[in-house]
Every structure is written in C-alpha cells, then in structure tokens.
Symmetry: C2
Subunit: 365 residues, 2 copies
C-alpha cells in the first residue's frame, strides 16, 4: 500500500510536470533536424516477429520510414539491411546502441524487446535524444513506467506506447460514441482477449523476460479498451486467477478474470488467457450498445452498434500509429497513447496481481 | 457460514433421499390417473405475462394440455376460461387452491407467481398430490428450496424448475459438446444476460415479491448455462455489484458481475443487469469454442462453434419443456431440470450475495 501511494504521487507529479513542460516551445537538436524533412526515420530495437510486422507496415506510412535497426543477432543485420536498404552506419547492436545519438537519420526509436528490457532501452533512447515508441505493456511496474516518463521529459523527447488499436477506425468509433456519450452513459463493458499460446520455449512464458503472462501480453488490450471507451480511470479492481497447466505456465499467469469499477457507475468485466481463444469488446450504454468482434487482433475487426454495422474503412493501423507519432514529433504534440497512458494500464496490472494475491478488491483512488 | 453448512448437509441428504426414493415403484392416485391417458392436464398458478406465453405455447405440446388455472384476479378467470375452454370447476383462486387435490383433470401445477410465493404454492401443490413445475429462480434461498424438494418427495410428486433453455436445441448442442468434452476440457465460460427493465412499478423491482433483482431474474440463466455446459458445480464464487439508479433499484440489485471457479480448472465470467442489454454465452475449450448469441431470450438463439454454425432446428422450447415433464411423470423419471438443479443455482445466488457483502470469494465445497 505504501508503495502504491508513492507511485500515485510520482505519477501525478509527472503528470503536472508534463503539462507544465508542454507550454514553452522546446528547441532541441532533434526537433530542428526533424523540421528539415517530412518523413522521420525509425530504428527498430529487437527484430522479432512483431518488429518484422511493424517494419513491413511502415511501408504504408506517409510521414516516416525505416532508417535503422538495433539487434543482438548479427545474422539479422544482413537480412534487414538488404530487405530495407539500410546503410551499415544505421545498424546497431546492444553495445553501441547509445551512439545512435550521433545519427541524424534516426529520429524515432521503436522498442520491440521483451517487456523486462523496455525500461532500459527506452531510457537509453531518450538519453540519446531520440523520440521513443515502446511496445505494450510499457514496463514491469509503475516505478519503471515513471522512470521512463521522467527520462523522456528530461531529455525533451516524446514517448508513446505501441497501442495500435487506438489507430483502428472501428476502435476510434467506439471511443467517439463512448466518450461523447452518444448513446448515453456507459453501464457495462465486457472486454475479453485470450489465445492459445504455442511454443512453450518462447520469452512470453519466462517471467524474467515477460514479467507476466496472458494479462501482460493481451489482457492489457482489455484494460486499454475499457479505459478509452469510457474515458475514465477505474477506481476499484478485483481479480481471479486460474491455472490448468502448471507446467507450461509455471512462471507466468495462464488465465485471469478481472473487474473494474469506474466513478461514473460503469463496470467492466474482463478476461484474458494463454489457453483459450476469445477476442471481443462490448459496451452497453443507457441508450444502446457497441461491439467489436475480433476486437484486438491484427485484422478482421467487425464493429456493430445497436443502430447497425460500423461502416469504418479498413486502414493500416500500424502505419497510422507510426504516422501519428511522427506528426506528434514534428508538431510538438503529445501522443494520444503517451507514456502516461502506459503507466495507467500498468497501474491496473499491478492492482490485478495485488487483488489475486489478497483475494480482495484493490482501490485505485 | 453456519447456515450454509447446514444447507449443504440438508441438500446432500435430500439428494440421497431422492436417489433412494427413485428405486421402488411408487404407486399413488395421480400416477394411476395419469397412466389412463397420454396427455396430462396443466393448471397455471398466477396468470401474468409469462403464464400467457406458456399457455399459448402449450398448444404445440404432444403430451399435455391446459386443464385449469389458479388466479387471484377474478377478471382473468373469464378471459382464460373462454380462450382455453376451461370448465368452471377447473378455475381456482388462492383460497380454494388446495381443493385442486380432488380434480383429476389436473395432473401438473405450473407455478408462475412472483419468486417469494414459489415455496408456498409449490408445497401446497405437492400436498394436493399434484406434480409441479416452478418458475426460476426456484425460491428466495436454499432453505426454501430444500423444503420444496422435501414436500414433493414426501407427497410422491415430481418437481421441475422452469429452465426452458435446456429444451432448446442450440443449448442442447452446447451441453452435448461441453459435457462430452468433444472439443476437450472447458477452460473459460463467458455468460452474460441483462436487459433494460421498463415499468418501475412491476413486482420484479420489489424485494418482498422478487427476492432479488437482475441476478435472480436473468442472471440465474448464466449460472445454469455455466453449470450445464461444464456438467460441474462451482467450488468458489466471487462477485461485484454496482448501482447507477438507486431510485429505480432501491430494493433490488441493478448490475452484478460474478465469477465461478470449477474443480476441473474451468472458470466462468458472468454478468447481469436490469439497466444494460447483453445476452450471450461463450465457452472456450482446449480444442475450440462454442457460442450462442441471443442465448437466453424467447427466440433468435444463434449457435456457432469453432467448426461452424450449429445447425439446430428451431423448436418450441416451452412445449418441449412441458412435454418432457409430462413424460417424466408418465414414465416415472426425474426431470433433467429437477428441484435439485434449482437448489444448486439458488446456492450460487446466495454465495454471490455473500461475496458482494463480504468482498471476498465464497467457497462452495
């Protein structure tokens, strides 16, 4: 409890600092460099499957392009260099990563490493004067999140979390309807995302690398969705865990249910799993409902409301996400998926684990 | 706690008595009367909207027919008598109800009264030697359920609870797949049923008549569904309540979420509401999933599994339910939706309210 209060104070003082900091015009070398061109250069840190997906979608972006990579695997250097025409000078490893500071081709670093490495590589990017996108979940706890936010502020770089759903037109419509109360106040949200995880040797199942299991990996989408659909922070969280395969999931959580109460009277019922497939968002409002089937996946989002289908064009949510951050950098705006957004979600993650441990609701006021 | 233990003992001794009782052939006057014809006579007790629905659907039944009514509203006597060609001798009020014992036209009494009246009218039916169907929820607490079961056993009449969903082909397919483990063990169930209640003056919103709110009225369908889809009893229940309209819902619950853990490792996430519309069943199994949209309503059940649509014929679930009970009576079989089924659900209802009050999980072992 002592620790959570400290984090709350830290979090709110960071919020205040961020607000104060956005007022004066901040002139730093990167901002100057970036205004010289319309397309900003991205370097991906950690070249796993998701980085591959990000890089291939970046081709659809208008305001940014791939400019470099950071990898601990020499074999990947050549593959990526050839595929994306990356000069040798823009290829880094984890040792010389900090010298990226001297590379004007690279404006933004996108950290796609295992969760436990997020904090270090975001802070090193910030200290190298690079703007940063960090994959979700932001970090292993709110202390780490707060340190990452502070490092970016101290180095006058922008920070964003890789929440691609907020750049999907169907989710944007759910946000618009929910936050504008177009169908009245939200009453009940059901947000569920789970999948059957494959390879038992992957980093996602190692606590030291992943920090947590299904909840960290995909449950965080449901926390996000409940928060952005209501525009509110939860005031109380309760949670339950169940494990059916203690061998495969000996280090991380397999299946977790949790519930979030909001001050407005909205309540969210959520579930996540590494051993079950489900993927859905539903919001019941006073005057109707919204729903997304295949809500949080890499495609196939189908939006419906009580008035009919959501007619949203399919877009490239990854390109939209990276474009938006590039424009935030160029226009000196805060990202809608800021470090504070990441911290709020991690705060809920912490509360969920605390509620499981104590078998009691955890207040977040 | 003391009280729950008592009920558990009572419940299990009743179960044992029921098993012991089913072995010898029981010959009572009604059983003899019933074997004289193929179609058994129903009398409905309480002629509200749902009784009207039951009676009109009874026309599709093969093994039963409407034979009488019991009502406290004289105006309804004439309407029903004319519509269903019911002789004066088969029309009862709440005072002369017990004399139904002398009426051989009536084999089965269907109690469709407000929840708080279930126990009295089921016991009076049993004591009149009539078989009984009682609407859900069975009663206000497990003590009442146990007394109803005992009264039916003591009077050698059969008892069934009005769980129509178990007679719907889509639910039957969900039961078959789940209990046969056709897609492997069930991991996660999501069962949600809520609706926006209208008229603020109806008995459903009066604690004295209804006993509880949304949970009693429609949440009980979700408890049922999780139990029959797994074929298991929950071993632990946790629950959360939220109220956004304390005027309309000053006597009963508005919105409740609850979670049920099963010994197999399955877990169910459920929600119910009188102020939100949702109506869905979902089960994630090791090797696939099943889903029903519009799961618990009066029609429109759409079943899907990971293998495709459930091709189940639309049937008349009410006629099927009443036909099945008529055959149970004629063939001296226990109903699949027995009093014990009703008691098990009420036991979970009790645990849900206890968990809300104590803010702790409630063990049901």
């Amino acid at each position: 409890m002592q620790r959570r209060r400290f984090i709350r104070q830290l979090s709110s003082s960071i919020g205040a600092a961020a607000l104060a900091g956005s007022a004066p015009a901040i002139i730093v070398r990167n901002t100057l460099a970036q205004t010289r061109r319309n397309s900003l250069g991205f370097a991906f840190v950690g070249l796993g499957n998701y980085a591959t997906r990000l890089a291939s979608n970046l081709a659809d972006a208008e305001h940014c392009h791939i400019a470099g990579v950071v990898t601990g695997t020499p074999a990947k250097e050549k593959t990526w260099a050839e595929q994306y025409n990356i000069p040798d000078a823009n290829i880094y490893n984890y040792e010389n990563y900090d010298s990226i500071a001297n590379n004007d081709d690279i404006d933004i670093v996108y950290v796609v490493l295992p969760n436990s490495m997020h904090m270090e590589y975001v802070i090193r990017a910030a200290e190298a004067g690079k703007h940063v996108i960090c994959e979700k979940p932001m970090a292993l706890n709110t202390d780490q999140c707060a340190r990452m936010i502070a490092a970016c502020e101290n180095n006058n770089v922008k920070l964003s979390i890789g929440y691609r759903c907020q750049f999907h037109p169907v989710h944007q419509e759910i946000i618009r309807i929910g936050q504008n109360k177009e169908m009245g106040a939200t009453k009940v949200i059901q947000a569920d995302f789970g999948f059957r995880i494959g390879n038992p040797n992957q980093w996602r199942l190692k606590k030291e690398l992943a920090g947590g299991g299904a909840l960290y990996d995909v449950g965080v989408y449901c926390i996000q969705a409940a928060r952005y659909a209501t525009g509110e922070e939860p005031v109380s969280v309760s949670a339950q865990e169940i494990k059916t395969d203690p061998v495969k999931f000996n280090e991380v959580d397999e299946t977790i249910l949790w519930q979030m109460k909001f001050a407005s009277g909205a309540i969210a019922s959520c579930s996540t799993s590494y051993s079950s497939n489900f993927n859905r968002f539903y919001a019941a409002m006073e005057g109707g409902w919204t729903r997304i089937d295949s809500a949080y996946g890499y495609g196939g989002q189908t939006g419906t409301t009580s008035k009919g289908a959501i007619e949203a064009p399919e877009n490239n949510m990854w390109a939209a996400q990276m474009d938006d951050f590039s424009l935030c950098v160029q226009e000196d705006r805060k990202s809608r998926v800021s470090g504070e957004e990441g911290l709020h979600d991690v705060r809920v993650l912490d509360a969920i684990y605390e509620s499981i441990a104590t078998e009691k609701p955890v207040d977040l006021i």
